[in-house]
Every structure is written in C-alpha cells, then in structure tokens.
Symmetry: C2
Subunit: 336 residues, 2 copies
C-alpha cells in the first residue's frame, strides 16, 4: 500500500486546510484530519486567512503564528529551520499584494515538503551501504514516512536496503510512553513487507548481548556541531549498550537537523512532557497505571554523545568521526 | 499503612484456602483473593483436599501439584526451592495418618513464609550500608513485600535504609510489559512514605548520564554459582549502563536464589511470555497497540553477567567479587 502523503494542502474551494494523517489513531485506523479544526495553531492559521486586511497585517499574523508554532516543541530543530525558511520568504515578498504574498508562501511550503522527501531518499541511498544482506537492525521510535514528508530517515535507510533486495529484519522498540514504534514504525514496515518484531524498550540490550542485533539506526531531532545527537528518550541507552557490544550505531537525518550554533549536545533544550502520557499509556487508559499522586518524570528526548555514534547519514553525505570536521565539510560542500 | 500479609492460610471452617493479594488490581484497589477459585493450581490443591482417601493418594496428589506448580515459571528458582522443601517433608511424614500429614505440611509452608520474611529483613540490614544518606536509588520491577513473604529483597534494602533515617529517593522503572514498577513498587514506597518517581524503562540511562543515580538495586529470580543473575527483562540494560557510568549495581536476594547446580547464567532457562502482554498493556486495553499480525517478542527475564555486579546482598552475608568463591563460602557458612 502507498501511504497517503503525510501532509497535503487543500486550496480554497475545499477549505484552505492542511490535511494530515491523524497518527494518534494508528495502527487501528488510517484517518485523515484537516487541521483547520484540530489544533490551536491551525485555528491561528485559519483566523489569519479570514482577518488579514493588508500585507502588513498578514505579516504580523504570520510572525505570531511562527512564534506559536516554535513554542510547541523546543528540541526538534527542523521545525525552526522550516519556520525560518518561511519567514525569509515572507520578508522577501513584503511588497507583494495579498494574493501574490499568499501564493509565494504556499509555494515555499510545498517546496519544503518536496525537498524533505527528496532528502529522505538521498539519506536512504547513502545509508543502505551500511545494511548487510541478512542484517538484524534495531530502531527506536518512528523516523519513518509518518515523521517526515515521506520515506523517512532511519526508515529511509531500511527501506532503501529492502528495495535493493537485501533480506533484512527489524527489531522495533515499542518506544514508551507514546508507543510510536509499536504503533507507527511496525505499521509502516508491515505496509512495505519488511519483516519486523516489536519488543519492549528493555529487550534490545538482551538481544545485543545474544548477538541478535547487527546494527542500530535511529533518527535525530537535533544534532550539535560536534555530532552529539538529541533523539527520542531511550536512544542514549541503546547507544551505550551498542558500544559495549561493538555494534555500529547510525544516526540518519537531513543536514538541516544539525544546529551549527550549538557546540555540544549539552546546549540542546530537552522537552519535558506531561506525566499523563506515562500513567494513562498515551491516552489509551481511563485508569492510571500508577498510584494517585505519585511523581512521574517524562522527558521526551535524551542526548547521545558523538563518541557513541559510528556515522551520521545525511542527505549531503555520510559524516564519520571526527564529526565536527565532517559535518562542517558537508555544510559547505558544493554538490554537483 | 501496614500491608496485609502477601499470603495467608485459611483453615477449614473458613474454607481451606490460600489468601493472596490480587496484584493485578493494584494500585487501583487492594483486593484479597482466596485462591481456591482463582488458578488451576489452586483448583488442584482444593481437589487434593477433597479426594485424598489415604496418605498414599495424598502424596501422589501432592507430587502432581508439585509438578504443575513447577511448570508455571521456569526461571525463578525459589519456587523450586520451596517445592523441594515441601516434598522433603512429605517424604519424611510418609508414615503419618492424613490429619497429621496435613498438619506437618501446613506447618512447613507457614515456616517457609516466616523464614522468607526473616531473610528479607536480614538482606535489608546487610544491604542498607550500601545506601548513602541522600542517595538516589534506581530499581527495576517489584522486589518488594508483594514479591516475597513481606519486606522485600531490593525494596528490603531500601526500606532498611529509610528506617535508619537516611533521606533517600527512588527512581522506579515502570517495567514493561506488566508494569510491576509503576503499579506495585511505587505503591509500596508510597505506603512507606519513601520519596519516589516513576520513569519509563528507557529513562534510567539518561539519568545515569546526568549523575542523577547513585546506585542501582534489583532483586533476582535465579543466580548461577558464578554470580550471573537472571532478573526481570531490562536488568541487563541497566547493568551495562551503570558500568559505563561507574555506578554500583547491587543484586539483593536470599541465598536460596543461588542455583549452585548451574555454573553460569547461560544455563538459566528464560521464560518466554505471550505477545498479548505487550500488545494489550498487561490486559488493560481492548485494542492492541500494534498492528494486527505483527510479531512480538516477549522474554520475561534476561541474564546479567557477574562482571557487571558490584555485590550480591544475601540473608547470610554480602558476596563480593570473585562471586564463585564468595557464594560458596556463604553456602557453607555456619551462622552463630
């Protein structure tokens, strides 16, 4: 089955909305949701459409929307990168009239999506070399088509290896608290016909100890200039155990995930999320799994130091240690 | 609050049952269940009570019950140890009449419970020295009063430190798939007034990396003669990450948990459990968190090699590396 695009724009006769896959309903149901009615941020976009009387008002509303969107998630850097790209176009288009201004922004948004898909395919191409025929690959969370414009980063590498005819099997960490691995990654792999097995997050270490994991591939939410990588909570645990067993540990992400302003991962802000995600199992339970009033600590990400990473697979090339130099080189690389 | 005893015998006028805490209902409700109506094994015990016409028939039924009970869980060795102790008494009491025979067995069963509680208190006493005032302790699964006759092994150490007035805080791994940490350990600690925080199993590594864990204390289901320790799945992951950060890793268990017949942990059988425990979150969900027909691997335990263990705290003394010699010494130690 071909996945529907993770993000589609509907133009005015259909209602000026962004159409998304409602990932909270997967794998039970594939539901498309037009986000003019979902989130506050979409409400803001809708309001913007209705209320703007001048380009100045529109720019002001866009700046406000930018700030609201930027505040939703502090750790992942691609969000900021895309918002900056949009704001840059908004600045350039300042002298246009409203319809032209809107058309310019929409075009840029669509280009971001197209570019992202293209980048994921390049990550896949460059990364597949690290996956041997017959490999058992372990992945964490969802760095797949559902987390990108399509194809995925870590899952892009896995998809590309599969497309090359390699017989592979993927260990899928369920990824507590929100279960993105159990719900989303296993679903994507199943759609592609790639063999996979879901495991609790505590099982991977035991598999590594038994020689049943050949490599680990994960995505990234933000990478510092030295290669330190913020990714879903639990990634650091896997990297430490992989090092102990001399198992290669790969990070797959577009170069836009590298935040060259940050010298090391210690500067990456880590999003803290609500205890309820843990206690009510991602909103699926009516009764808490914990006693009332018990403390719960629920960080969304952790940071894996660059020393534990074998390679960072980007759309512009593969960075290998030392990462500071390698990432810098990729940044200023002129591609043919 | 004083916990009700985890296991009580009701004598005939009340119905000849074993009264247990129904742990699947915690922490929502504290429900006592008389197990003549719960499990097959209790059904077998009840049948035994009704049908035995001679001591020979009774002994045969007991042997049958022993086999059924032994088949329930392959990994934990204390079950076999207790069954062996009962069978030994049954053999010794072979010449007695039925009422005397039954009384002898009941007395032995009650002695096992009393002994176990006493052993846990000794483990606590001996282990508390390893817990500093102000310590942040991480524990996994439930090795508490609910997993023993009372007081607990790993939680016995924590309880004893708390009783000595040390100000401690416990990081409680939720312990997927059955959530014994989130449901049971946090509940026990809350009852005792010991500060604790529940975390997903993937969070501990990140806390260790940040210097927020001073030691790890876990229980054990079976320990080989060389100190290799089988415990709840996820224990190995913690031990590897603790080693990386030079954090002491303690195993707390009665010496009866050591299986001196096994040279190493490779010989310990690991129980594989049903995928449904993962998919339906310990039976709490109606809808699976995974896509239909996806493979799930659900081992109940893993083995931590002795090289990763700082000390094994037993009722007869603390074993430190090299464990083969230390455990052997404790085995043949004559206590004053």
């Amino acid at each position: 089955m071909q996945l529907p695009s993770t993000c589609t724009w509907l133009d005015p006769p259909e209602g000026a909305a962004v159409r998304l896959i409602d990932q909270t309903r997967l794998p039970g149901e594939l539901v498309l949701k037009d986000c003019r009615t979902v989130a506050e941020v979409c409400e803001a976009i809708k309001t913007l459409r209705v209320e703007a009387g001048s380009t100045d008002q529109l720019r002001e509303a866009i700046t406000h929307a930018r700030d609201e969107l930027a505040a939703t998630r502090p750790t992942a850097v691609n969000l900021f990168w895309a918002l900056d790209r949009m704001m840059h176009v908004a600045k350039q288009a300042a002298d246009l009239d409203i319809p032209q201004f809107r058309a310019k922004l929409l075009k840029e948004a669509q280009a971001i999506v197209t570019d992202d898909l293209e980048r994921c395919r390049k990550i896949g191409e460059r990364g597949a070399q690290f996956i041997a025929d017959g490999a058992n690959i372990l992945t964490h969370c969802n760095a797949g088509a559902l987390a990108t414009a399509g194809y995925g980063t870590a899952l892009g590498v896995i998809r590309a290896a599969h497309e090359q005819g390699k017989r592979i099997h993927v260990w899928v960490d369920e990824t507590r608290p929100l279960l993105q691995g159990a719900r989303l990654t296993s679903w994507e792999l199943q759609q592609e016909g790639i063999a996979c097995t879901v495991i609790c997050d505590s099982v991977g270490a035991s598999l590594m100890g038994q020689g049943k994991v050949d490599c680990i591939v994960v995505g990234a939410d933000r990478i510092a200039a030295n290669g330190d990588t913020a990714n879903k909570i639990g990634t650091y645990m896997l990297a430490v155990v992989a090092e102990k067993h001399h198992i290669p540990f790969y990070v797959a992400a577009p170069l836009s995930t590298v935040d060259f302003d940050l010298a090391s991962g210690q500067e990456i802000p880590i999003e803290q999320r609500r205890p309820e995600e843990v206690c009510y199992v991602a909103g699926r339970l009516d009764e808490s799994i914990c006693p009332a009033d018990v403390n719960v600590y629920n960080p969304a990400f952790d940071v894996t130091p660059h020393q534990l990473i074998s390679a960072i697979i980007t759309d512009r090339g593969v960075a290998q240690p030392p990462f500071s130099a390698a990432l810098h080189r990729l940044r200023f690389l002129t591609l043919a």
